[in-house]
């Protein structure tokens, strides 16, 4: 799975779950201010992404620091890399 494919899978899963347009899924998009997602959505986001990728993403401290889509993409890629590593 390439970096581009990871980003695509994450964006499609989140757009479908949270009824967002793909045009909104830009790297600099902030979850709260730009995408309108809140703390309840943050919990569900992990569930959706774990189902989409098939591996665990839970790391409460690291997740709390995620602010933008780009932060999330990098986090998923790092987790994927750790698993493969």
């Amino acid at each position: 799975m390439t970096e581009k494919e990871v980003i695509e899978i994450a964006n499609v899963a989140l757009a479908e779950e949270f009824e967002l347009e793909m045009e909104q899924m830009v790297p600099e998009a902030r979850f709260n201010d730009d995408l309108g997602l809140d703390s309840l959505d943050a919990v569900d986001m992990v569930v959706v992404l774990e189902q989409a990728f098939g591996f665990k993403l839970r790391d409460n401290q690291a997740l709390r620091e995620i602010r933008t889509l780009d932060d999330l993409h990098k986090y998923i890629l790092r987790k994927k890399s750790e698993l493969e590593g």
Partner: protein, 409 residues
């Protein structure tokens, strides 16, 4: 006598006929059936149910996702019905947020679908990792009322009476009391339920659910009929706006009818079986509350669900009180039993009978059970003046609730 008169100024429905009061009323007056084949679950061992009154697809995307995510189907139905009722009543947003408008909406239980979602993961997978953050908000007992308050921005009291099949009627009655006693000026009230195998199977296990052949589901709900064989479970939501007469007049609202009486009592003789004496007492209490004599009642909207014990107990109680033989019908022949929504949907239909001067009969009533024969059960629409209606709702748990509704004067 209560200090304030309470009037109905808005009504909204999502019924097995679809979204909107109009689709329900048109279906009832046309004598149509909204009961169809059970969509799934027929392969379950021991489940005898074959028919259900399901709500056809409705557009719930009009509810913003942030609110919809904590709502199961019944709450989504309730929101659509509430919006219709509030629009008809022309309630401004400022009133919703005034603290003087409250909510009284009940359901039989929280969402069984959401419970299933949680326990499937919890028990089968021994995990909580796929559980959504909003699941509990669909399961909690006041899920419909609380979600309504959130999406509508209501700051007044929020009540969620849960009395199984009497929930909707009881919720309206409690709303009536809230307004009558001046605790609130306006109440959004009614009931909602979503079809679940839990409810259908429970009636099936008690031999109280219809198991008619799935090839004729539209004939399976047969209140008062000799060939009835039980309840056809259904779903939906009915919401009404009730407010004090002074409040309605001050804002120039259209008044459709007035709630003049309410009573609710308990029959501790059985948690499952209806009791004619207790039903009779409840109707008499409601009439006394309304200061209405039995001879002044034009129509009785029966609870009758198509069970032998329930139909006969209700008919017996009515026959003992109403010697003038007012017309009686059960709308469950058309729609099945919409559970907590039934008292509200049938109250709305009763208001429309008052405003349209039509009495809608019981669908599928072709041969009256002689044991219910001491009452007046029409089989065709009757065009006649309807000014005072009694609405009955009874429930598992020994709960009875009765409303008395009168034309606007």
């Amino acid at each position: 006598m209560y200090p304030r008169r309470v009037v109905i100024t808005g009504m909204g429905a999502v019924s097995p006929f679809g979204a909107g009061v109009e689709s329900m009323w048109d279906g009832l007056v046309a004598g149509n059936s909204a009961v169809g084949e059970l969509p799934s679950g027929t392969e379950i061992s021991g489940l005898s149910v074959r028919a259900a009154g399901m709500v056809p697809p409705v557009n719930v995307k009009v509810i913003p996702r942030q609110y919809r995510r904590s709502m199961s189907r019944m709450t989504q139905y309730a929101v659509l019905a509430a919006q219709e009722a509030l629009d008809q009543a022309n309630i401004p947003d400022a009133v919703l947020a005034s603290g003087r408008l409250g909510i009284s909406v009940g359901s039989t239980i929280g969402s069984a679908d959401a419970l299933e979602e949680f326990f499937t993961e919890y028990v089968k997978e021994n995990s909580l990792e796929a559980i959504r953050s909003t699941t509990f908000f669909k399961v909690m007992g006041h899920t419909v009322a609380a979600n309504l308050a959130q999406v509508l921005g209501v700051t007044g009291r929020v009540e969620a009476p849960s009395a199984a099949c009497a929930s909707g009627c009881q919720a309206i009655g409690l709303a009536y009391e809230s307004v009558a006693y001046g605790r609130q000026d306006v109440m959004l009230c009614g009931g909602a339920d979503e079809f679940s195998p839990l409810t259908a199977a429970t009636f099936g296990l008690m031999n109280a659910a219809s198991s008619n052949d799935a090839t004729s589901p539209d004939a399976s709900s047969r209140p008062f009929d000799s060939s009835r064989d039980g309840i056809v479970c259904a779903e939906g939501a009915g919401l009404l706006v009730v407010e004090s007469l002074e409040h309605a007049q001050a804002r120039g609202a259209t008044i459709f009818a007035e709630i003049v009486g309410f009573a609710s009592n308990s029959s501790p003789s059985s948690i499952a079986n209806p009791d004619a004496n207790s039903i009779k007492t409840c109707i008499e209490l409601a009439l006394k509350d309304a200061s209405v004599s039995p001879v002044d009642v034009d129509y009785i909207s029966a609870h009758a669900t198509g069970t032998e014990q329930g139909d006969i107990a209700e008919a017996t109680a009515i026959a003992e009180i109403f010697t003038s033989m007012p017309m009686i019908s059960s709308l469950k022949g058309h729609m099945g039993h919409t559970m907590a929504a039934s008292g509200a949907l049938e109250s709305i239909a009763s208001v429309l009978m008052i405003t349209n001067d039509i009495i809608v009969p019981t669908r599928n009533l072709t041969e009256v059970d002689p044991r219910c024969g001491a009452v007046n059960l029409p089989v065709v629409n009757h065009n006649q003046a309807v000014s005072t209606v009694v609405k009955n709702s009874f429930a598992l748990g020994g709960i009875n609730s009765v409303l008395v509704i009168r034309n606007a004067t």
